[in-house]
């Protein structure tokens, strides 16, 4: 399979009424790759994630995953095939203990299949995973109500929820937004470790410094179009990218 793209997005288009959210975006992702997606607010990053994961149906274009056309499939089908995502605004169940949030994906067909037809002990699996992600079991953090946890933990809980499915592709939608410096510093190595273990990651992020440290390749979106793609250094030299990030065409004399 080396060489063939794991995820292939071809000329994806989506408009909401008169707003062209995504127009003609194409890119490829190889297995084990770490792709960063950046762009100013409203450039279509989250819409792109929604299009790939099936939460929004494209007007035209094609998404292929592992040679299979997954365009317009239901979100649970796509998640079941191995594309997991986190949400920019975390979607958790605040009135449940943290570990119970992971029981829901642990009840999915994918987990059953990965475990050889048995669900096994779900609570233990959930708590083990949370412990790995820095929810200290010894101080009973996994047992605390999700609603009582600080924001950084909630973001990591959302990450854990995505990781429970043992995905092949993980899409992180602004995981670090709202996290403190120390939380970012402790979470980033976890993401890097996932990637080293072979997980393919797409990371949408506004914190460019942290992003550029870990990614292999960066794609830049602006007004729903791909304006640049390449290594972090190449992308930041690009005039159009600079213009997009500075806003308008201003002449600096």
């Amino acid at each position: 399979m080396e060489g063939a793209p794991l995820l292939k997005v071809e000329r994806l288009n989506k408009h909401f009424g008169g707003v062209q959210a995504i127009s003609g975006v194409s890119f490829e992702l190889k297995r084990g790759e770490f792709l960063g997606v950046i762009g100013p607010n409203g450039s279509g990053k989250t819409t792109l994630v929604n299009l790939i994961t099936g939460f929004v149906k494209p007007n035209s274009g094609k998404v292929t995953y592992g040679g299979k056309n997954i365009t317009g499939k239901m979100p649970y089908t796509i998640a079941g095939l191995g594309i997991s995502r986190t949400f920019q605004m975390v979607r958790l169940f605040y009135n449940l203990p943290a570990y119970k949030n992971l029981i829901i994906p642990l009840c999915s067909q994918r987990v059953k299949k990965l475990r050889g037809g048995k669900y096994g002990e779900k609570d233990d699996a959930a708590i083990d995973l949370l412990d790995d992600l820095g929810f200290e079991r010894d101080s009973f953090v996994p047992y605390k109500m999700a609603g009582s946890l600080p924001h950084g933990y909630l973001k990591r809980l959302d990450l854990a929820r995505a990781m429970v499915l043992r995905p092949d592709v993980l899409i992180l939608d602004e995981l670090f937004s709202g996290m403190s410096m120390s939380e970012v510093a402790s979470t980033l190595p976890m993401i890097e470790k996932f990637n080293e273990e072979g997980l393919t990651i797409v990371m949408i992020e506004h914190r460019l410094k942290e992003l550029f440290r870990v990614v292999d390749r960066v794609m830049v979106l602006n007004f729903g179009q791909k304006i640049a793609e390449g290594t972090p250094q190449e992308v930041m030299q690009n005039e159009e990218v600079k213009r997009a990030y500075l806003g308008v065409d201003i002449e600096i004399s």
Binding site: F55, M74, Y76, A79, K100, R110
Partner: protein
């Protein structure tokens, strides 16, 4: 300075369940836990012996409405708000009635079969609209029983508007009363158990945030269809039971009463606990019968009580009682 007071609530200090370990320290604590569970079981079983004739019929009636309220509450747990429990009731009644009338099968055969196939029929019918949410789903459930009723009326199948009389009864009335009570209690405790299992957790999560559940790789529409089957089977059991008890099958099985009263029972009892729905059905049905003597005023007084209790106890009677049972309340000075 003016003194201010506020109410302070304290949990009764008993932690009986720590996830997997049950640890009860004294017989007093055991009694404390057992009482709210044993009381309805013993109460209903005793009532089933003590009551006879008309009163026993009212008890059966209350249990049937209770089953419909439980099935409504179960659907609502996964976000399916129905205005058509009479669909389940009617489908169960017609299946049992038809099997008894045309195939001459005895009630003990038709009852389980009507429950099973009633559940399947209802799940199949409603699975087509399971993607609709909230009021749109409710509209369809409101219309389906009317549609079927009009279909039976105009085509004249299954007895048409006259219905089918003289179906076989249960062996005796005591048997019927016990069957209704045990079915009702079984359903109450089974639903409470299901909703606290991982399966129930997923159902309730669908109601809270279906997109989060979908991103967990769970086919929410299939889960909702399963919930419809369970609810439908319970409603159909109630319908089949009633048909044999009254030995009559008619279009009234699809009547609006069977849709509205369960919703009222859940609204008054408190949604999500099942106990509330069950408790209020056992109050509302006898109350409605008792008011019968007042003639035309009956409905007015009935409505007045419903509206009054919704205003006074918006959290639901059961949640209120549970709070009183599990917490101390005292007034403390605000410093």
């Amino acid at each position: 300075m003016e003194e201010a007071y506020r109410k302070k609530r304290l949990d009764r200090g008993i932690k009986a369940r720590a996830d997997t370990i049950f640890a009860v320290a004294s017989s007093k604590e055991m009694f404390y836990l057992l009482l709210p569970r044993a009381l309805p079981v013993v109460g209903l079983l005793v009532l089933a012996i003590v009551l006879d004739g008309y009163r026993a019929k009212v008890l059966v009636y209350a249990c049937m409405y209770g089953l419909l309220a439980l099935s409504w509450d179960f659907m609502a747990s996964c976000g399916l708000f129905s205005l058509g429990q009479s669909l389940f009731f009617g489908v169960g009644a017609y299946l049992a009635g038809a099997m008894n009338h045309y195939l001459h099968w005895p009630p003990l055969v038709t009852l389980p079969l009507a429950s099973l196939f009633g559940g399947l029929t209802c799940a199949a019918l409603l699975s087509t609209v399971v993607r609709l949410r909230g009021v749109y789903f409710a509209m369809v459930t409101l219309m389906l029983p009317i549609l079927i009723m009009k279909g039976i009326e105009t085509t004249g199948i299954l007895g048409g508007s006259h219905g089918i009389a003289s179906l076989s009864p249960f062996p005796n009335d005591t048997f019927a009363t016990y069957l209704a009570v045990i079915g009702f209690l079984f359903c109450l405790f089974a639903f409470r158990r299901i909703i606290h299992s991982d399966y129930g957790l997923v159902l309730m999560a669908i109601k809270d945030d279906d997109r989060a559940v979908m991103s967990g790789g769970i086919n929410i529409y299939w889960r909702k269809t399963q919930a419809l089957f369970i609810s439908g089977a319970v409603g159909a059991f109630a319908g089949a039971m009633m048909t044999h008890h009254y030995q009559f099958l008619g279009m009234s099985a699809f009547a609006l009463d069977y849709s509205i009263l369960p919703v009222a029972a859940v609204a008054l009892g408190g949604q999500g606990s099942f106990a509330g729905a069950a408790l209020v059905s056992l109050i509302l049905v006898p109350l409605s019968e008792a008011l019968r003597a007042l003639g035309g005023l009956r409905i007015a007084i009935y409505c007045f009580i419903l509206i009054g209790s919704l205003i006074v106890l918006p959290e639901g009677i059961f949640h209120y009682l549970a709070r009183k049972y599990h917490q101390f309340e005292r007034t403390v000075e605000v410093k």
